[in-house]
């Protein structure tokens, strides 16, 4: 079993109210100097066997079609 991690983040231009709320909370809790927080999602995709280029391409397609919505989100892949 190998693991491919897919990190999905809202695109920089899309409003992230949850991230903004966290910045507000940082301030109240005394964590000064937090300029920005953006909240994203992390998917851990377990695949059988080794991750080769073909498998990685499969996971990339999965990310494009299901895990992320390219209209509002960017994603990154890495093998762990």
């Amino acid at each position: 079993m190998a693991r491919v991690v897919v990190d999905v983040m809202l695109k920089p231009e899309i409003l992230d109210p949850q991230g903004q709320a966290i910045v507000g909370a940082c301030d109240r809790l005394g964590f000064k100097g937090v300029a920005q927080v953006r909240q994203g999602k992390r998917f851990e995709v377990e695949v059988d066997g080794e991750v080769d280029d073909a498998k990685l391409a499969d996971v990339r397609r999965l990310a494009e079609t299901l895990l992320a919505n390219p209209v509002i989100e960017d994603f990154e892949l890495r093998v762990e």
Partner: protein
């Protein structure tokens, strides 16, 4: 022969009974469609109702998009042939399916909002809004947590230019929607997505008004007028 209009139930659909009731009150025959059947049962139009399909756990509408029923619905809708109204979660499903541009994101307040919302009808050239007049103000419930419409500026400009903004929030959008957009349509005018719930404004007793009924009576008038979609000329 009254029009037969399908209402799709996905696991987690909630306002499917309400959509069926609204169609019945408008004079249509509602037909229950099941997400797992790749069969539209010959209906004349389809409503994708509100709710939390598949729990909305990944993204609202993201999983419903791949339901078997959608394999039949998407091509028919895209061709301009089949009128489809997506309400709330249905609107999210239409965006995820790329039948409509843009996406719905979390309300700027982060909270779910349930309120009686004044809308301004911007386009009557769709299969679902012919009975309204442009600029008409209608009061219908808004109830959603991820109802903030977003799209890139070019898409927004194109929607405005082509008259494809169907309705806007009167006053400021309560959820942060760009350009106060509450509903849009596709280039043919047969597919409409709307964040507020017209099916909950069809009886004076249970809704804030009966202003929502127009969406359903418009459809019936549109279907009665003939098989050619009202705005199919853009093809």
């Amino acid at each position: 022969m009254a029009a037969r209009v399908g209402v799709v139930t996905f696991p987690g659909s909630l306002d499917d009974r309400d959509a069926a009731r609204a169609l019945r009150i408008a004079g249509a025959i509602p037909v229950a469609l099941w997400h797992g059947d790749a069969d539209l049962r010959g209906v004349d139009a389809v409503v994708l109702p509100g709710g939390f399909s598949y729990g909305d756990y990944l993204r609202c509408g993201a999983i419903a998009r791949f339901a078997p029923i959608m394999s039949e619905l998407v091509p028919a809708a895209r061709s301009g042939r089949l009128p489809v109204l997506g309400i709330c979660n249905g609107f999210q499903i239409l965006c995820e399916s790329h039948l409509l541009p843009g996406a719905l994101t979390r309300n700027s307040s982060r909270h779910f909002i349930c309120r009686d919302q004044l809308l301004r009808v911007e386009s009557t050239a769709t299969a679902w809004t012919g009975d309204y007049h442009t600029g008409q103000e209608i009061l219908i419930p808004l109830k959603s947590g991820e109802g903030s419409y977003v799209a890139d500026p070019a898409t927004l400009d194109e929607l405005e230019r082509d008259g494809r903004v169907v309705a806007r929030y009167a006053g400021a959008a309560p959820n942060g929607a760009q350009r106060d957009i509450a509903g849009i349509t596709n280039e043919h005018g047969n597919v409409v997505g709307l964040m507020p719930h017209p099916e909950h404004a069809v009886e004076a007793l249970t809704g804030p008004s009966v202003d929502g009924l127009g969406f359903f009576t418009s459809l019936l008038a549109h279907l009665a007028a003939g098989p050619v979609p009202a705005a199919a000329t853009a093809r």
